[in-house]
Each structure stands twice: as C-alpha cells, then as structure tokens.
C-alpha cells in the first residue's frame, strides 16, 4: 500500500530540502516533523518514504526516529496528551495527574515501557505519555493536549480537561 502524500505536503517537503544544500541527510529531522504532523506518527512506511526522498538508507532515518522520544512510532489517539514529569512538575503532582487522566480517559498504562511510551484508550480517542520539561516549571503540574498548553492542572479536574476534547 503506497503512502498517499498530499501534494501540498510534498511541495512543502521539497522546499524544506532546499534549506540543506550541502547534505540532504540534514533534512531528515524537519521532514520527520512534517510527516508526524500529517500522519500523527512515523510508521516504517514513512521511514522508507523519507529515506527514498533523501536518497538515504531507511536505517539512517529510523535511527533518528528512535533517538528522539518526540517522534512516535505507534499511532496515538485522536487527542494526544503529554504530561510533564520533570522535577518541579513531579513534585507538584504530575504522577497523580497522570493517574487521574488515565482513569478519566480509560487508559491502561501497564504495558508502557521505554520502547512503547504511549498508551491509548480503549476507544482510541485519547492517548497519553510522560514528557520531559515543557518549560513552565513555576506552574506545575503542566500538560499538553495536542498543541494546547495547560498549567497548574489539578488531578481532580482531569475529567473537566478531557471534556473540552470530547468531539
């Protein structure tokens, strides 16, 4: 099954590649960001596509994907939540926030490990993972739902937060 790349995305990709005239290999990272934005995660198919686009071997793309936790290798839910667990947030209750978000969204995190950091709710609507510092240490615990940023999220109000993303 061939990967369907929208023409608009491909022209954007072609434009981005021109920013790296010395080595196309440097374009791996920005291309992966664009692809993740479009397809929600980086599948093997995408790895192969990016490699072919940049005349690289697929492994040269995969090694980048696996190096950065920001790239997802499995499909997230419709709304992806990232909870900060770095020191200030952890002290302010990010683990409690994680628990109550999981409970509210019906997410089982028991299978999560380093290689599979994302857990998805049964209905596929929500997914969640811990993230490192989201740069608002004075207002922990913080989390992001998709690209929306939330500070001082009280664990008890997890349900309220999710209700905003019920569509």
């Amino acid at each position: 099954m061939a990967l369907a790349i929208p023409a608009e995305l491909e022209s954007k990709i072609d434009e981005v590649i021109t920013h790296y005239p010395v080595s196309k290999r440097s374009a791996v990272l920005p291309l992966l960001h664009l692809m993740q934005h479009q397809f929600r995660f980086i599948s093997d198919e995408i790895v192969n596509w990016v490699a072919a686009k940049l005349s690289l071997e697929p492994i040269q793309v995969l090694e980048v994907v696996t190096f950065y936790p920001g790239f997802r290798q499995t499909a997230p839910g419709k709304y992806h939540i990232r909870v900060c667990r770095t020191l200030s947030c952890a002290m302010a209750g990010s683990y409690e926030l994680m628990d109550s978000l999981c409970q509210a969204a019906k997410i089982d995190r028991s299978h999560v490990d380093h290689h599979h950091p994302i857990a998805v709710s049964e209905d596929g609507k929500y997914s969640i993972e811990f993230a490192e510092c989201l740069a608002s240490c004075g207002f922990g615990p913080v989390c992001m739902v998709e690209d929306d940023f939330f500070e001082k999220v009280e664990p008890a109000k997890a349900g309220e937060l999710l209700a905003r993303y019920s569509a």
């Binding site: 093997d44 790895v47 192969n48 005349s55 492994i59 040269q60 995969l62 090694e63 290689h115």
Partner: protein, 919 residues
C-alpha cells in the same frame, strides 16, 4: 601552516618522540609504544576515530608539570610539545572503572564464549586490571535473543558493548548502511535494517561488521575471529579482478575460515561474501577426484598414468594425421599466471600452432585490444588507490558493487564524501542513487552516447590543448568526426536527453582529475573495442592520463583475466603481448623455446567452434572453463564440441562442458595451489596453497607439466617460482619479478630490475609513443537490425554479488541459500501490457531459442528493456543469446539480444530441471 620538522616532537610519559603531521595522540603512542599499550575498545585500525568508549583516555599537558586534562587519545589531535601521560594513577582508575561498568552489562560466560582467548574486551579487562566488578547486578540486557537466520552472519547482542564498530564498518568500509544504533542511552541497541534479522535485512554479508566487532556480538558461522587454527596462510581471492588478499585459517587439510588482512594494500581488511565465506565448495562431495576416460560413450575412472597415456596417444595421432593446427587450447582466467603461461607454451611448442585463447575472449578482449590501439598497453593505466586523489568518477557499463564489491564500496565511500559520480548504464544500478549524473542509454548505443559526451567537452572548450598537442596524434580526424556529429540523430539513438549528456560531460572535463572505469557493459557489444577506444579518446582529450587520480581503468572480471592475456593466451600475441606474426618476435620465441613455432595468427574461441564444425579443428584442450554454460548460443557450442575428435577438460566439477570430454582431469582449486594472479590494476600477487590438493587431484600447472613431459616436450617439473623465473625471462614487463620480491602486497607491472613496480602508466609518454585518437560513428548492432522488428524487446545481462559466473563454485556454498534464482526485470508499463505480474513465470524467446524464468517488475530498467543475471544456467539464458560479436576481437554481444516475452500459463509450465544439487 607548514610545521618546522624540528618542532614535530611530543612527549610520552616524559620521553621526547617524533610524530607525523596529522597524528592523533593514539596513533603517536601506538607507533612508539606498540598497539595495545593504551587499551581501546571502540577504536579499530580500519575505522575513523570515534571517541565513544573513553578507555583510551590519557592525560595531556602543554608543560611537563603544567595543568593536565583527560582526553580520549583516539580522536585528539597531537600538537608539538604536548606531554602525554598514559599510565598515571588517575587514568588507570578511570579506565578500570569504565571497563567495570561495561562488564556490569556483559555476560561473564567467557569460558564458553566463542571468542574466548581472542576477545578484545577480555584483553582490555586484563590490561586494566579488573579483578572484581564492584557494582551489584541491576538492569541489564543479558537475555537478548540470538540471530541465526543467515547462512553466514550471526549475532548475539547480549554480548554487545555498544562500541558502534559494526555500524561504522558497515558505513565506512562497506557503505551499506544496514546496521545502526536504535534508541539512546541505556536502551541503545544495535539493529539491522528496520529492526530485522540479518537474512531479512539488506545485509550483503561482507563480514566487515563481524571482523570489526571486538566481542562475539556479531560473528559468523565459521567463528572466523576465534578460530583455533594450526596455520594461517595469506593468499589471493579467486572470485574477481579486485584481487583481495585473504588470510585463510586451516587445521590440517581443513579450511576453517577466511579473514581479510588489515595491512593489505588492495583490500585493507575488507572483502566480500564470496571471498570471506564462499569456500565450502573446496571439499564438496561433487569434486572430481579421479581422472575419467570416455570409452564407448561412458566415463570410466582411470589412474593419472592411464589418462596421460591415453591423451598423449590421441594428441600425437591427431597431430600426425591432421597437423598441429588441428589442435587448440582454451586457457582460463581463473588459473594462475604460471598455469596460463604453461598452457600457451604447451599448445604453441607442442603443436606448432597459435590456436590458444582464454575466456578473456568473452569478456575483456576488446579492452586489451582497444587500449593497445590507443595507448600501447592493454591494461588499467592507474591503480584503484587513485580513487583517493580523484575529483570525478565516470563508470561506463559496469556494476562494481555487485561485480567488484571491494572496488564498488571504495567508489561509494568516495562518492559519499562528495566526489561527483557519472554512471552510464541502461539500468539503475546500486550506485545510481549516489550518482550526480545517470545517463540511462539504450543497450548497444555506447558509441553514440560517448561521441556526444566528447562533442560537448569539445564544444565547452574543456579540452587539454597542451596534452593533445604534445602527447597525442590523429586529433584532427577525431575532432572533425565530432564536429560532424548529428546530435538529433545521436539523441534519438541512445535516448538520453542531450542536456543531461552535456552536464555530465562538463562535470567530467572540468574536474582536476577524473577516473574512467568500465566493465563488460562496454566490451560485450558488437562495437566493444570501439567503445573502449572512445573512452580512451575522452581521457586523452581532457589530459586525464599519466598522473594520480586519473586514467582509464577496466574493471577486469575474473581474478586473473589480466594475467591470462599477459601470459600470451591469445591467438595473435605470445607471452608478453608480442605479435606472433612479426618476424623478429617469431625468431625470439623460437630461440627461447628451442622449437619450431607457428608465425600465423591462430583461432579465437568462436573461430575454434566454427573450425570444429568445419572439421578443421580435431582436438581441443580446455583448462577450467565451462564454455557450454557461459559462451553464447549454447546449441552452437554443443554441436562444435560434439564435432571434435578429442576433447580434454581440466575441471573441479563435472560441468556440462566436461560432459562432452573424452578425458576429464580432476584439478585443484585456488586454495590448493601456488602461483600468481594479476589483478585489474596490473598487480602481480602471490597465491599460496593453503591446503594440499584434495586426494586424487592435481593443480592445473602440474597437469600441464606432466603432459608436456609425457609427450616429450622439454619442461621442468612444476614449481611456482621456477615458472615465474621463466616468465620473467620472456615477458618484458615481468623482467624484475621474482617470487621473493613480489612480497605480500604484490607488485604492479611493468616490474623493473630489483622488483620495482609501476603504479601509473604513460606518465611521460605513451607505451606506443603518441596516444592515438580514433573516431567511430555509431553503427546499429546487426542483432537489432536483423531481429528487432520480430523481437521488439532488448534483453541485457549482468551479475549479482552473491554468485560467480555460472555458479559452479558459489552454488556449492551457503551463497546458494541467499540468492536462489535468476529473475527477469521488466518495466511496469511493459508488464502491464503483457499481463505479467511479479513472480509470474515468463517465456523469453529469440530466433535462437527460448527460456523460462520468473519475472520481477522493476523500474531499474526502462520500457522495452529486459534484464537478467546469468548465474543459474539451468535457465539457459544463453539459449537465446546471439553469435553476434565485437568486430575486432569477436567478444560476444551478450548485452544486446533481441527477444520477445510472454507470460507462461501456469498449466504449461515445464518442470524446472536442476543441473546441480546444492549441498
């Protein structure tokens, strides 16, 4: 900045030492204190410095008692006056702690480990003085599963120390990018491909990773790294013209494993899966072990005495009844120089005929011919080493990553470092994604394309006037020819847009130095010699001859195809390329051999077949060549062999050619004999027997000496150095060669007195005096003219990495499990028109015959072109190839065959006949 030599001094533990410009701290220490004085884990001589493990840490200071800093010595550049402290207490403690931490995540099962005794981790642990691991056992990776999927490569990543040596070997030595590090930190681990097994990944089994791995995390099924051998013998690989040096480990008469020596100038610790792993054919049960004589149509086992008597009697009879010209010999580019020399001597002296040829006829004879016409010497002008100095690489009709893997990976490495590559090839070969220019021409139109290429160099004013004026002749005629080119017609002929040709031509001509490689895609055409001469023209017009980083380099196919021609296995030239019909040469040969010799040019291989069919050639002696399976137009070859009165074949296995013989003599393989091979860069290298010939067999050289003695032709017993000494007396460019002075690295001919070799030819003047330009206008191949209307597809053939020629050897090794069949590549548009899907059985037919094979739909070929490899002769692709050949040398036109193709309905599929059982 130029360093004053007096300042090139630094200190190791207080002692002043000289260093070389560009040294790292580690290189400097290694040179003066020996490798291993400073322990290392992630450093390896064949790899770039990496600085990951920090075990090589030392303290450095700019003054003896000045402030010190800890650095990784492997990647720290040395500066003048630097003080290096290799053994301070602080450093010892640091190293010990690093190794201790490594050991917390390493199984301590040394006693049962494959590499125990040869393990670098073990050595380093001992060196830094580990007596205990103080850390409690915590999270670890000790239960990773083993990968035993591949016939050769193995991995057991619980033994991995994350030094990345395998990843770097794959990238920096081979250039395959199969291995990498997945994840990071504690979870980092080595993966193959997209986290696959060795077998499922795109691994080419070169073994570079295995050789680089310091533990047994990546190894091979032969335990090459840890082998308990009684002997290691250095010899030269038999699989292609690169001439890789090999270190072969043996125990008694058993070949255990093969590694590539790190000090080899040819292959620098690298080789391919054929050289490293494909050696199990040596003791294969199919090996011939007794001479066979055909009585009443059936082979009967015989003693060597009986066989020799029978041969001598028959050859004498034929010589007496029909004259010496009724006898011919086909020598082998697989055999040594000494054996080829003896073979041509046997035929020329024994029968007074020049009917001697070799398999170079069907591959690079146009190169030898064409380059002699242009330069005076039919051999590579430069060395492969010159890739280090070149500014542009042009490859015409060659697929080095498959055919000449080590040269292919060297080219890839240079191109990855930014040297522009131009590929002229009808197919999208593995190097094409790396190439700046790919001129994808229609097969058979090389001359048209290269003429246009030359035209654009001329038009852009990028010719080297000075070089042309001082060093060449016939320029005016060549220039006139180019100026009269009809570009429209030319473009229509080869099918490459002219702007692409122009851009590539300008790239080549404006480079400070450009190297031109070519292969059988140039020679195996009706205009093969003319293409070679046109490549020579292009090199001369741009002054790309006679200095480092330039030249014309044919990628010689077989291990000793250069040598076979050098030794005189050609019907028109004797040993040392002296024309046999020249009076002075004829006299020289007669005096040298003390015999009556012929001064008439003999028959080339295709002419021998015609002569046999005409009843003129009665006896033929074939040394190590399977002409039935490899020469074109199989039916024609078979009927020629049938027409002979007497056929002798020296072989390792009962090949389809041997089936036709009256006497089959069991020969020894390259691992069982000594002599010399000459590689594609004229390097004469010593081949050393690693085991004695298996019982019942003899080396080809021994056999030829025996039969000469039996027939009363004066010939001493076979010794490699003895025959080499005789060669040195008659072959001018071997004058200074002796067995001793060839050394381990070999010597490039011409070899002057004292064993001095020559790296670059035609430095001040050409061998023939002036370099000669030749202009040729494109002419359509007769094959296309005659058959294109009826058979509209063009079939072209090539090689694959895993197999060698018709697979007589490689298909009796584990390689047969890696690639199991030849496939026919067809463009998706054509496949759609013909209703063919990938994996379908298709029938390819020409006016000579038909073959069935499996289709592979691929855009590697353009519409109208079909491509297949030729390693599985049960497909009998030569049933369809033609008898058209190069006009000058009769090299067959394998690369252009007019065929048609259709899908075979499943019901009518013939049962595939396998000619060989794979062990």
């Amino acid at each position: 900045m130029v360093q004053d030599l007096s300042t090139l001094t630094a200190f190791i533990d207080g002692e002043p030492m000289r260093f070389n410009d560009g040294d790292t701290v580690l290189k400097f220490i290694d040179r003066h204190r020996g490798r291993g004085h400073v322990p290392t884990l992630c450093d390896a001589p064949q790899l770039e410095p990496y600085g990951a493990c920090r075990v090589c840490s030392v303290e450095v200071a700019m003054q003896e008692d000045g402030p010190r800093r800890v650095v990784a010595s492997c990647h720290t550049p040395l500066t003048a006056g630097m003080h290096v402290f290799t053994e301070s207490p602080k450093i010892r403690k640091l190293r010990r702690n690093i190794v201790e931490l490594v050991l917390t995540d390493h199984p301590l099962d040394c006693l049962t480990c494959e590499v125990s005794g040869n393990c670098e981790l073990q050595t380093v642990a001992a060196k830094v003085g580990i007596r205990q691991v103080r850390y409690p056992s915590g999270a670890n990776h000790l239960n990773r599963s083993k990968d035993r999927s591949h016939p050769y490569m193995t991995s057991e990543l619980s033994k991995c120390i994350n030094c990345s040596r395998c990843v770097r070997a794959c990238d920096e030595v081979q250039g395959q990018h199969v291995l990498s590090m997945h994840g990071r930190g504690f979870n980092a681990r080595i993966i193959k491909g997209l986290d696959q097994s060795f077998m499922d990944s795109t691994c080419v089994s070169c073994g570079a990773c295995s050789q680089a791995c310091p533990t047994s995390a990546i190894s091979d099924v032969f335990f090459s790294k840890s082998i308990e051998a009684t002997r290691k013998t250095r010899t030269v690989c038999t699989y292609c013209g690169v001439g890789c040096n090999l270190n072969v480990a043996t125990k008694g008469s058993e070949v255990l494993s093969i590694q590539a020596p790190t000090d080899s100038e040819v292959n620098h610790s690298h080789t391919c899966l054929k050289g490293r792993y494909a050696f199990k054919f040596v003791k294969h049960p199919d090996r011939l072990r007794k001479p066979l004589i055909r009585y009443n149509g059936h082979f009967t086992e015989a003693t060597w005495e009986e066989a020799y008597d029978y041969i001598a009697k028959n050859l004498q009879r034929i010589k007496e009844e029909h004259g010496g010209n009724a006898v011919g010999g086909i020598s082998s580019a697989r055999c040594t120089n000494e054996e080829n020399y003896l073979m041509q001597k046997f035929i020329r002296v024994g029968f007074g005929t020049n009917n001697i040829d070799a398999c170079a006829r069907v591959c690079h004879s146009p190169t030898a011919w064409g380059m002699q016409k242009a330069f005076g010497t039919g051999a590579a002008t430069n060395s492969i080493e010159d890739l280090e100095y070149t500014n542009c690489i042009l490859i015409t009709g060659a697929n080095p990553t498959e055919g000449h893997p080590v040269t292919g990976s060297k080219i890839k490495q240079r191109v990855m470092k930014g040297v522009p590559l131009i590929v002229i090839d009808p197919r999208e070969i593995e190097l094409v994604p790396y190439a700046k220019h790919h001129l994808q021409l229609r097969p058979g139109t090389n001359v048209a394309l290269l003429d246009m290429f030359a035209y654009y160099i001329l038009e852009a004013g990028l010719i080297d006037q000075d070089f042309i004026k001082k060093r060449c002749e016939n320029w005016e005629e060549f220039e006139q020819g180019l100026r009269n080119l009809n570009l429209d017609e030319s473009e229509r002929t080869h099918g490459v847009p002219r702007e692409k040709v122009r851009a590539a031509a300008i790239e080549y001509a404006s480079a400070k130095g450009a190297m031109a490689f070519h292969g059988l895609g140039v020679t195996e055409h009706s205009h093969g010699s003319k293409t070679v001469m046109t490549i020579a023209d292009i090199a001369m017009m741009t002054g790309n001859i006679g200095r480092p980083g330039v030249g014309v380099l044919p990628l010689r196919g077989q291990n000793n195809v250069q040598g076979a021609a050098d030794m005189g296995c050609q019907p028109h030239q004797g040993a040392g390329y002296l024309q046999v019909n020249d009076e002075a040469n004829h006299k020289l040969y007669e005096e040298f051999y003390g015999a009556h010799m012929s001064n008439e040019i003999g028959w080339k291989i295709p002419q021998m077949y015609d002569a046999a069919l005409a009843g003129k050639l009665k006896a033929l002696w074939i040394m190590g060549e399977d002409v039935v399976q490899t020469d074109p137009n199989t039916e024609h070859v078979k009927s020629a062999l049938n027409a002979l009165e007497f056929l002798v074949v020296q072989e390792l296995f009962m090949t389809p050619t041997a089936e036709f013989a009256d006497v089959v003599l069991p020969a020894a393989s390259f691992l069982e004999k000594s002599g010399t091979f000459t590689n594609g860069e004229r390097r004469v290298q010593r081949v050393n027997a690693v085991i004695p010939p298996i019982p019942g067999t003899k080396s080809d050289g021994q056999i030829v000496c025996d039969i000469m003695q039996r027939m009363g032709i004066p010939q001493a017993d076979y010794t490699p150095d003895g025959v080499l000494a005789e060669i040195a007396r008659i072959v001018p460019f071997f004058k200074g060669a002796t067995w001793e002075n060839l050394t381990d690295q070999g010597t490039q001919w011409p070899i002057k007195e004292g064993g001095i070799g020559t790296e670059i030819l035609h430095v001040d003047s050409f061998k023939r005096g002036l370099g000669k330009f030749h202009f040729f206008r494109f002419q359509e191949s007769k094959e296309i003219e005659k058959h294109h209307d009826e058979f509209p597809f063009i079939l072209t053939t090539g090689r694959i990495l895993e197999h060698y020629n018709c697979g007589t050897m490689t298909r009796r090794t584990g390689n047969a499990q890696i690639v199991t069949e030849d496939l026919l590549a067809i463009h998706p548009d054509d496949a759609a028109k013909k209703g063919i899907e990938s994996g379908d059985m298709v029938r390819i037919f020409s006016n000579r015959g038909e073959v069935n094979m499996k289709a592979k739909i691929s855009t590697e070929v353009k519409p109208g072109i079909l491509y297949t490899t030729f390693h599985f002769p049960e497909n009998l692709v030569n049933m369809v190839t033609s008898s058209e050949c190069d006009e000058d040398t009769m090299c067959p036109e394998y690369k252009v065959v007019a065929v048609d193709v259709e899908k075979v309905p499943a019901s009518s599929m013939p049962k595939k006949q396998r000619m060989m059982e794979i062990a």
